[in-house]
């Protein structure tokens, strides 16, 4: 049964509501009464509350909304026989503001939105430049005065970013070596050139995939951790506390992280290279190439410059991972969501930068004949 009744007499429509008007029971009555009131042709609408037993905020919202709908048709609308409590309750709200707020939408134009986006990108760029400058100056000062570096923190970070990353680096590098060798061997076996797979695996792993995969793994593990840690410190006002104690947050927090990451990434890269080559060797043995032949082939094709170019890139990737992680952490807003966003942004930005820088180096090395 409907919780309302309509009575039409002369130019007056009376809407009598009854029972409980709460959030759990008003859906049907709100919908039906709204439909009826939107189509009325009466000069006067009376909302009668004689039989209302209980009315909570949802009930009050419905009463105000129904009155608003009736008024929109041009009818003079009034409430009658509402209990003292309901009357008092309705007085707490401003129906005009509520209606205006409900209609409110994001009215900013596309030009405004482009402007806001441009301003955000500009601010980001300025922040990035100032962070790079601050971090570079802090690093120079720290290297000139090594006693100022928080070596305890740096060692802990190096252990977490380096030693703790060995299992995942082993797994991924091994699989990369295996996949690369398999894909190449499948194609080259048609020409009886399986032995040259070693050349491909060796060059690809040492010059590109070893440093690249290590850096991406480091970005996922340590870059995100740096951003989350520093972001949480920002939320807890620990960064503000550092500033008021006279410490520069970049020197205190970013320098040990950058140094630790730069120290461990070449070691991890050499390790990743070795495991990747072992992965390739195992596949080659499956194709009938002996370990000695594989080794001889690698020695013939690889030079020290291949290893050094990979390690040079790895060093730069290390700076990117740690720098971006710290920057995003220090930029974090307030609240748990902001920390999550800064960690995500640290990983995404670092990976994009790493791949872009890697591409740039590949082109430079090609034209430089390295």
């Amino acid at each position: 049964m409907s919780n309302f009744q309509l009575t039409i007499a002369e130019d007056r429509l009376t809407l009598s509501l009854r029972g409980r008007l709460d959030a759990y029971s008003i859906l049907a009555v709100w919908r039906e009464a709204s439909e009826v009131l939107a189509e009325i042709d009466s000069a006067r609408v009376v909302i009668d509350g004689t039989q209302i037993d209980y009315c909570d905020t949802a009930g009050a919202a419905m009463l105000l909304d129904l009155a608003q709908i009736a008024r929109a048709t041009g009818a003079e609308t009034e409430f009658v026989n509402l209990s003292e409590q309901v009357q008092q309750f309705l007085k707490l709200f401003d129906p005009t503001t509520l209606a205006a707020q409900n209609r409110q939408e994001d009215r900013s134009s596309w030009l405004e939105r482009i402007g806001q986006w441009g301003s955000r990108v500009g601010n980001e760029f300025v922040t990035l430049i100032s962070f790079v400058g601050e971090a570079a100056s802090a690093l120079v000062i720290a290297l000139r005065h090594p006693a100022c570096i928080r070596w305890g923190d740096a060692m802990r970070i190096a252990r977490e970013a380096g030693v703790d990353a060995l299992p995942i680096v082993s797994l991924i590098s091994f699989l990369i070596g295996v996949i690369l060798a398999f894909q190449a061997a499948a194609a080259m076996s048609r020409f009886g050139a399986e032995v040259f797979v070693a050349d491909l695996v060796g060059l690809a792993v040492l010059r590109e995939l070893g440093p690249l995969m290590t850096a991406i793994l480091l970005a996922g593990r340590s870059g995100a951790a740096f951003a989350a840690e520093l972001g949480t410190m920002k939320v807890n006002e620990e960064i503000d506390a550092l500033s008021t104690l006279g410490f520069e947050p970049v020197r205190f927090l970013a320098v040990p992280r950058i140094l630790a990451t730069v120290a461990v990434i070449p070691v991890l890269t050499v390790y990743a290279n070795l495991i990747g080559l072992i992965g390739g060797a195992i596949v080659m043995m499956g194709f009938g190439i002996s370990l000695v032949s594989y080794y001889q082939e690698l020695l013939g094709v690889l030079s020290l410059s291949d290893l050094l170019t990979g390690l040079g890139k790895a060093l730069l990737f290390g700076v990117i991972v740690a720098g971006v992680g710290c920057l995003r952490g220090l930029q974090a807003g307030l609240g748990a969501a902001a920390v999550g966003r800064s960690a995500t942004s640290a990983v995404v930005s670092a990976i994009v930068l790493i791949v872009a820088v890697d591409g740039l180096f590949t082109v430079i090395f090609y034209y430089a004949g390295i």
Partner: protein, 249 residues
């Protein structure tokens, strides 16, 4: 009339440490019930037991006659719908706007369409004078605004009982007085039963109908009654709590 909350022989604690020992009391419908006590006396622990977050070692906590300690599943859900909780730090969801924070319980427990839910949520925000801040994120609000937004969220489903943990802690006297006025308004107009944990004397003097004072040393109730009764209590510790300067002289 039967009490809206009945706590019976409640003993609670963590591991071997007892925090509340054999505590019993009632809260009447529509009452502003204030829980006070020194730091570490178990005020927040008692509140968290009353809202079903902690499991007591023994005893019962009945809300409208239903034991929240023994309730599970849908029975527990139906008890939880009768209560709203405002936590000490606000505990607003940082990834949502204030309006979305208030809409969340309405979306979860009612079938109302989005527009109706938004209207109800805006009314709640108007109640706590945050009508203009509906689209702001929690991180953009001051401490006082966050507390009021948390009250609006706690009130989303028009609960019978509103639990507030240190609502005026960290607020300046003006904001604290405004919050007290808001709580009194909620109690008088909406007839909500308020259970408030606080040690702000001004708030206690302004809003309390009845006070329960916990004694951290004995883990029991030191005093229970209206303010005037406690001001003249036989126990000097109780009198000193409410009139510290007077007792020192």
């Amino acid at each position: 009339m039967s009490p809206i909350i009945r706590v019976n022989n409640l003993t609670a604690g963590f591991a071997d440490r007892i925090v509340l020992r054999d505590i019993s009391f009632d809260v009447q419908r529509g009452e502003v019930f204030v829980i006070v006590g020194g730091s570490g006396s178990g005020k927040s622990t008692l509140l968290k037991h009353m809202i079903g977050l902690y499991q007591p070692q023994c005893g019962t906590i009945c809300i409208e006659g239903e034991d929240i300690v023994a309730a599970h599943g849908s029975e527990r859900q139906s008890i939880l719908r009768k209560i709203g909780v405002s936590f000490q730090t606000g505990a607003l969801f940082g990834s949502m706007s204030i309006l979305d924070n208030v809409c969340l319980p309405l979306e979860a427990y009612t079938d109302l369409p989005k527009q109706a839910i938004a209207m109800i949520a805006r009314m709640k925000l108007q109640l706590v004078s945050l009508g203009d801040a509906a689209n702001r994120m929690p991180a953009e609000l001051s401490g006082g605004m966050r507390k009021r937004a948390a009250i609006a969220r706690a009130m989303a489903l028009d609960p019978l009982i509103l639990f507030l943990d240190e609502p005026s802690a960290g607020l300046d006297p003006v904001l604290s007085a405004e919050l007290d006025a808001l709580l009194l308004n909620l109690s008088r107009v909406l007839h909500v039963t308020l259970v408030v944990v606080t040690h702000e004397l001004n708030s206690i003097f302004t809003i309390a109908d009845r006070i329960l004072m916990l004694d951290g040393a004995t883990q029991t109730i030191a005093a229970d009654g209206p303010l005037l009764k406690l001001l003249a209590h036989a126990n000097p510790q109780v009198r000193r709590f409410f009139a510290p300067n007077k007792e020192q002289m």
